[in-house]
Symmetry: C2
Subunit: 163 residues, 2 copies
Protein backbone atom coordinates (compact mmCIF):
# COMPACT_ATOMS: atom_id res chain seq x y z
CA UNK A 1 0.00 0.00 0.00
CA UNK A 2 1.03 3.60 -0.57
CA UNK A 3 1.50 4.48 3.09
CA UNK A 4 3.82 1.55 3.72
CA UNK A 5 6.06 2.43 0.78
CA UNK A 6 6.25 6.14 1.52
CA UNK A 7 6.95 5.47 5.21
CA UNK A 8 9.68 3.00 4.32
CA UNK A 9 11.32 5.58 2.05
CA UNK A 10 11.05 8.23 4.76
CA UNK A 11 12.58 5.86 7.33
CA UNK A 12 15.50 5.17 4.98
CA UNK A 13 16.14 8.89 4.51
CA UNK A 14 15.81 9.39 8.28
CA UNK A 15 18.44 6.74 8.96
CA UNK A 16 20.83 8.18 6.40
CA UNK A 17 20.87 11.54 8.15
CA UNK A 18 20.56 10.16 11.69
CA UNK A 19 23.19 11.49 14.08
CA UNK A 20 23.76 9.09 16.99
CA UNK A 21 23.70 10.87 20.32
CA UNK A 22 24.26 10.01 23.93
CA UNK A 23 20.70 11.09 24.73
CA UNK A 24 19.11 8.73 27.22
CA UNK A 25 15.40 8.09 27.77
CA UNK A 26 14.93 10.91 30.34
CA UNK A 27 13.36 14.00 28.71
CA UNK A 28 15.75 16.97 28.80
CA UNK A 29 13.17 19.48 30.00
CA UNK A 30 11.47 17.15 32.51
CA UNK A 31 8.07 17.74 30.97
CA UNK A 32 5.26 15.45 29.85
CA UNK A 33 2.58 16.67 27.44
CA UNK A 34 -0.81 14.92 27.26
CA UNK A 35 -2.78 15.97 24.19
CA UNK A 36 -5.46 14.80 21.81
CA UNK A 37 -4.46 12.52 18.90
CA UNK A 38 -5.95 15.12 16.51
CA UNK A 39 -4.00 15.35 13.25
CA UNK A 40 -3.99 19.17 13.25
CA UNK A 41 -2.00 19.57 16.48
CA UNK A 42 1.61 20.57 15.78
CA UNK A 43 2.71 20.11 19.40
CA UNK A 44 6.44 20.61 18.95
CA UNK A 45 6.13 23.91 17.13
CA UNK A 46 3.20 25.04 19.28
CA UNK A 47 5.10 24.56 22.56
CA UNK A 48 8.61 25.26 21.25
CA UNK A 49 9.75 21.68 21.90
CA UNK A 50 12.67 19.89 20.31
CA UNK A 51 12.97 16.14 19.96
CA UNK A 52 14.35 14.91 23.29
CA UNK A 53 12.67 17.60 25.41
CA UNK A 54 9.47 15.94 26.59
CA UNK A 55 7.40 12.80 26.87
CA UNK A 56 4.48 13.03 24.47
CA UNK A 57 1.26 11.27 25.47
CA UNK A 58 -1.68 11.35 23.09
CA UNK A 59 -5.08 9.67 22.92
CA UNK A 60 -8.57 10.42 21.64
CA UNK A 61 -9.46 13.68 23.38
CA UNK A 62 -6.24 14.06 25.35
CA UNK A 63 -8.15 12.53 28.27
CA UNK A 64 -6.57 11.77 31.63
CA UNK A 65 -7.57 8.10 31.45
CA UNK A 66 -6.08 5.39 33.67
CA UNK A 67 -3.66 4.70 30.83
CA UNK A 68 -2.55 8.33 30.77
CA UNK A 69 -2.06 8.20 34.56
CA UNK A 70 0.00 5.01 34.10
CA UNK A 71 2.16 6.79 31.53
CA UNK A 72 2.59 9.92 33.68
CA UNK A 73 3.52 7.91 36.78
CA UNK A 74 6.13 5.99 34.77
CA UNK A 75 7.29 9.26 33.20
CA UNK A 76 7.88 10.83 36.60
CA UNK A 77 9.09 7.88 38.67
CA UNK A 78 11.22 6.11 36.06
CA UNK A 79 12.29 9.00 33.84
CA UNK A 80 12.31 12.18 35.89
CA UNK A 81 9.59 14.43 34.48
CA UNK A 82 8.09 16.83 37.03
CA UNK A 83 5.61 19.01 35.10
CA UNK A 84 2.58 18.06 33.00
CA UNK A 85 0.89 20.01 30.21
CA UNK A 86 -2.67 19.02 29.20
CA UNK A 87 -4.01 20.07 25.80
CA UNK A 88 -7.51 19.66 24.42
CA UNK A 89 -8.67 21.49 21.30
CA UNK A 90 -11.75 22.97 19.66
CA UNK A 91 -13.67 21.01 17.00
CA UNK A 92 -12.82 17.69 18.72
CA UNK A 93 -14.47 14.47 17.54
CA UNK A 94 -15.42 13.73 21.16
CA UNK A 95 -17.67 16.81 21.19
CA UNK A 96 -19.70 15.29 18.35
CA UNK A 97 -20.77 11.99 19.91
CA UNK A 98 -22.33 10.83 23.14
CA UNK A 99 -20.93 7.89 25.08
CA UNK A 100 -24.18 5.96 25.07
CA UNK A 101 -24.92 6.35 21.36
CA UNK A 102 -21.37 5.42 20.38
CA UNK A 103 -21.41 2.33 22.62
CA UNK A 104 -24.86 1.39 21.27
CA UNK A 105 -23.52 1.74 17.73
CA UNK A 106 -20.59 -0.57 18.52
CA UNK A 107 -22.79 -3.11 20.24
CA UNK A 108 -25.32 -3.00 17.41
CA UNK A 109 -22.63 -3.51 14.77
CA UNK A 110 -20.64 -6.23 16.53
CA UNK A 111 -22.79 -7.77 19.26
CA UNK A 112 -20.12 -6.79 21.80
CA UNK A 113 -20.06 -3.76 24.08
CA UNK A 114 -16.56 -2.47 24.86
CA UNK A 115 -15.31 -2.36 28.47
CA UNK A 116 -14.26 1.29 28.01
CA UNK A 117 -16.14 4.60 27.86
CA UNK A 118 -15.55 6.74 24.73
CA UNK A 119 -15.07 9.89 26.84
CA UNK A 120 -17.36 12.35 25.05
CA UNK A 121 -17.40 15.93 26.38
CA UNK A 122 -19.11 19.16 25.48
CA UNK A 123 -16.77 21.89 26.74
CA UNK A 124 -13.03 21.27 26.23
CA UNK A 125 -12.08 23.94 28.81
CA UNK A 126 -14.22 22.26 31.45
CA UNK A 127 -12.80 18.85 30.56
CA UNK A 128 -9.22 20.10 30.92
CA UNK A 129 -10.03 21.64 34.30
CA UNK A 130 -11.60 18.37 35.45
CA UNK A 131 -8.49 16.48 34.32
CA UNK A 132 -6.23 18.97 36.16
CA UNK A 133 -8.21 18.33 39.36
CA UNK A 134 -7.84 14.56 38.95
CA UNK A 135 -4.13 14.90 38.22
CA UNK A 136 -3.56 17.10 41.26
CA UNK A 137 -5.11 14.50 43.54
CA UNK A 138 -3.27 11.51 42.01
CA UNK A 139 -1.41 9.72 44.83
CA UNK A 140 1.27 8.11 42.62
CA UNK A 141 2.70 11.19 40.95
CA UNK A 142 5.83 12.72 42.49
CA UNK A 143 4.85 16.18 41.21
CA UNK A 144 1.35 17.44 40.49
CA UNK A 145 2.69 20.61 38.87
CA UNK A 146 0.48 20.99 35.81
CA UNK A 147 -1.15 23.46 33.46
CA UNK A 148 -3.93 23.02 30.94
CA UNK A 149 -4.82 24.57 27.59
CA UNK A 150 -7.30 24.42 24.75
CA UNK A 151 -5.86 24.83 21.25
CA UNK A 152 -8.18 26.71 18.92
CA UNK A 153 -7.82 24.94 15.56
CA UNK A 154 -9.44 27.87 13.74
CA UNK A 155 -7.15 30.65 15.02
CA UNK A 156 -4.00 28.81 16.15
CA UNK A 157 -4.37 30.19 19.69
CA UNK A 158 -3.36 28.23 22.78
CA UNK A 159 -5.88 29.28 25.40
CA UNK A 160 -5.31 28.68 29.14
CA UNK A 161 -8.02 26.49 30.67
CA UNK A 162 -7.65 28.14 34.06
CA UNK A 163 -8.13 31.87 34.46
CA UNK B 1 8.55 28.48 35.79
CA UNK B 2 10.82 28.42 32.77
CA UNK B 3 8.80 25.89 30.80
CA UNK B 4 5.60 27.89 31.11
CA UNK B 5 7.22 31.10 29.89
CA UNK B 6 9.04 29.53 26.97
CA UNK B 7 5.93 27.62 25.91
CA UNK B 8 3.85 30.79 26.08
CA UNK B 9 6.38 32.59 23.87
CA UNK B 10 6.41 29.69 21.42
CA UNK B 11 2.60 29.64 21.31
CA UNK B 12 2.56 33.38 20.55
CA UNK B 13 5.04 32.92 17.68
CA UNK B 14 2.98 29.95 16.47
CA UNK B 15 -0.18 32.00 16.37
CA UNK B 16 1.51 34.87 14.54
CA UNK B 17 2.50 32.59 11.66
CA UNK B 18 -0.62 30.38 11.81
CA UNK B 19 -2.35 30.00 8.45
CA UNK B 20 -6.04 29.12 8.90
CA UNK B 21 -7.06 26.20 6.74
CA UNK B 22 -10.21 24.33 5.93
CA UNK B 23 -8.66 21.14 7.28
CA UNK B 24 -11.20 19.13 9.24
CA UNK B 25 -10.54 16.58 11.97
CA UNK B 26 -10.24 13.58 9.59
CA UNK B 27 -6.56 12.70 8.96
CA UNK B 28 -5.63 13.23 5.30
CA UNK B 29 -3.81 9.93 4.91
CA UNK B 30 -6.31 7.84 6.90
CA UNK B 31 -3.58 6.53 9.18
CA UNK B 32 -3.23 6.23 12.96
CA UNK B 33 0.18 5.78 14.58
CA UNK B 34 0.49 4.29 18.07
CA UNK B 35 3.96 4.81 19.53
CA UNK B 36 5.81 5.12 22.81
CA UNK B 37 5.87 8.50 24.58
CA UNK B 38 9.70 8.38 24.44
CA UNK B 39 11.24 11.82 23.94
CA UNK B 40 13.69 10.59 21.28
CA UNK B 41 11.05 9.51 18.76
CA UNK B 42 10.77 12.00 15.89
CA UNK B 43 7.66 10.35 14.43
CA UNK B 44 6.82 12.90 11.75
CA UNK B 45 10.27 12.89 10.19
CA UNK B 46 10.70 9.15 10.72
CA UNK B 47 7.50 8.27 8.85
CA UNK B 48 7.45 11.19 6.44
CA UNK B 49 4.29 12.63 7.98
CA UNK B 50 3.03 16.19 7.77
CA UNK B 51 0.72 17.85 10.26
CA UNK B 52 -2.80 16.81 9.24
CA UNK B 53 -1.82 13.40 7.87
CA UNK B 54 -2.42 11.05 10.78
CA UNK B 55 -3.80 10.53 14.23
CA UNK B 56 -0.95 10.25 16.70
CA UNK B 57 -1.48 8.03 19.76
CA UNK B 58 1.28 7.77 22.34
CA UNK B 59 1.63 6.22 25.78
CA UNK B 60 4.31 4.63 27.94
CA UNK B 61 5.61 1.80 25.77
CA UNK B 62 3.31 2.40 22.80
CA UNK B 63 1.14 -0.38 24.28
CA UNK B 64 -2.18 -1.44 22.78
CA UNK B 65 -4.04 -0.78 26.03
CA UNK B 66 -7.82 -0.50 26.29
CA UNK B 67 -7.34 3.25 26.02
CA UNK B 68 -5.39 2.85 22.78
CA UNK B 69 -8.15 0.57 21.45
CA UNK B 70 -10.70 3.25 22.44
CA UNK B 71 -8.72 5.84 20.53
CA UNK B 72 -8.28 3.63 17.44
CA UNK B 73 -11.97 2.72 17.33
CA UNK B 74 -12.90 6.43 17.52
CA UNK B 75 -10.20 7.22 14.94
CA UNK B 76 -11.67 4.72 12.47
CA UNK B 77 -15.41 5.02 13.12
CA UNK B 78 -15.66 8.76 13.71
CA UNK B 79 -12.75 10.06 11.63
CA UNK B 80 -12.07 7.63 8.82
CA UNK B 81 -8.62 6.13 9.47
CA UNK B 82 -8.16 2.62 8.07
CA UNK B 83 -4.53 1.67 8.74
CA UNK B 84 -2.58 1.47 12.01
CA UNK B 85 1.16 1.69 12.57
CA UNK B 86 2.57 0.43 15.89
CA UNK B 87 6.01 1.58 17.03
CA UNK B 88 8.01 0.41 20.02
CA UNK B 89 11.70 1.25 20.42
CA UNK B 90 14.92 -0.07 21.89
CA UNK B 91 16.15 1.16 25.30
CA UNK B 92 12.55 1.59 26.55
CA UNK B 93 11.91 2.37 30.20
CA UNK B 94 9.42 -0.51 30.30
CA UNK B 95 12.25 -2.97 29.64
CA UNK B 96 13.95 -1.82 32.84
CA UNK B 97 11.20 -2.53 35.39
CA UNK B 98 8.93 -5.40 36.29
CA UNK B 99 5.21 -4.90 36.83
CA UNK B 100 5.25 -6.36 40.33
CA UNK B 101 8.24 -4.40 41.62
CA UNK B 102 6.91 -1.11 40.20
CA UNK B 103 3.45 -1.71 41.72
CA UNK B 104 5.07 -2.70 45.04
CA UNK B 105 7.10 0.53 44.95
CA UNK B 106 3.96 2.60 44.38
CA UNK B 107 2.05 0.79 47.12
CA UNK B 108 4.98 1.11 49.52
CA UNK B 109 5.33 4.83 48.85
CA UNK B 110 1.64 5.77 48.94
CA UNK B 111 -0.31 2.97 50.62
CA UNK B 112 -2.38 2.62 47.45
CA UNK B 113 -1.95 0.08 44.66
CA UNK B 114 -3.01 1.39 41.21
CA UNK B 115 -5.79 -0.34 39.26
CA UNK B 116 -3.55 -0.53 36.18
CA UNK B 117 -0.60 -2.69 35.17
CA UNK B 118 2.60 -0.82 34.19
CA UNK B 119 3.06 -3.00 31.08
CA UNK B 120 6.73 -4.02 31.40
CA UNK B 121 8.15 -6.11 28.56
CA UNK B 122 11.50 -7.64 27.71
CA UNK B 123 11.52 -7.89 23.90
CA UNK B 124 10.01 -4.91 22.01
CA UNK B 125 9.66 -6.96 18.80
CA UNK B 126 7.67 -9.63 20.60
CA UNK B 127 5.49 -7.00 22.29
CA UNK B 128 4.68 -5.34 18.95
CA UNK B 129 3.76 -8.72 17.43
CA UNK B 130 1.52 -9.47 20.41
CA UNK B 131 -0.17 -6.07 19.99
CA UNK B 132 -0.67 -6.69 16.25
CA UNK B 133 -2.41 -9.98 17.06
CA UNK B 134 -4.71 -8.24 19.56
CA UNK B 135 -5.45 -5.44 17.09
CA UNK B 136 -6.26 -7.91 14.30
CA UNK B 137 -8.84 -9.65 16.48
CA UNK B 138 -10.47 -6.44 17.78
CA UNK B 139 -14.20 -6.62 16.99
CA UNK B 140 -14.82 -2.85 16.98
CA UNK B 141 -12.30 -1.76 14.37
CA UNK B 142 -13.53 -1.30 10.80
CA UNK B 143 -10.09 -2.15 9.42
CA UNK B 144 -7.45 -4.32 11.06
CA UNK B 145 -4.86 -3.34 8.46
CA UNK B 146 -1.73 -2.77 10.53
CA UNK B 147 2.03 -2.98 10.57
CA UNK B 148 4.50 -2.88 13.45
CA UNK B 149 8.05 -1.63 13.93
CA UNK B 150 10.77 -1.20 16.50
CA UNK B 151 12.79 2.03 16.27
CA UNK B 152 16.44 1.54 17.15
CA UNK B 153 17.39 4.67 19.13
CA UNK B 154 21.09 3.94 18.68
CA UNK B 155 21.14 3.63 14.88
CA UNK B 156 18.00 5.46 13.76
CA UNK B 157 16.70 2.34 12.01
CA UNK B 158 12.99 1.49 11.83
CA UNK B 159 12.94 -2.31 12.00
CA UNK B 160 9.86 -4.34 10.94
CA UNK B 161 8.49 -6.43 13.81
CA UNK B 162 7.18 -9.08 11.43
CA UNK B 163 9.51 -10.88 9.04
Amino acid sequence: MAFHEEATEAATRFRETFVPSAMGPAPRRHVAVLACMDARLDLFRLLGLDVGDAHILRNAGGLLTDDAVRSLVLSQRALGTRHTVLIHHTDCGLQKITDESFLDELEGATGQRPPWVPGAFTDPFEDVRRALAVLRSCPWLLSTSAEGFVFDVATGELLPAEA
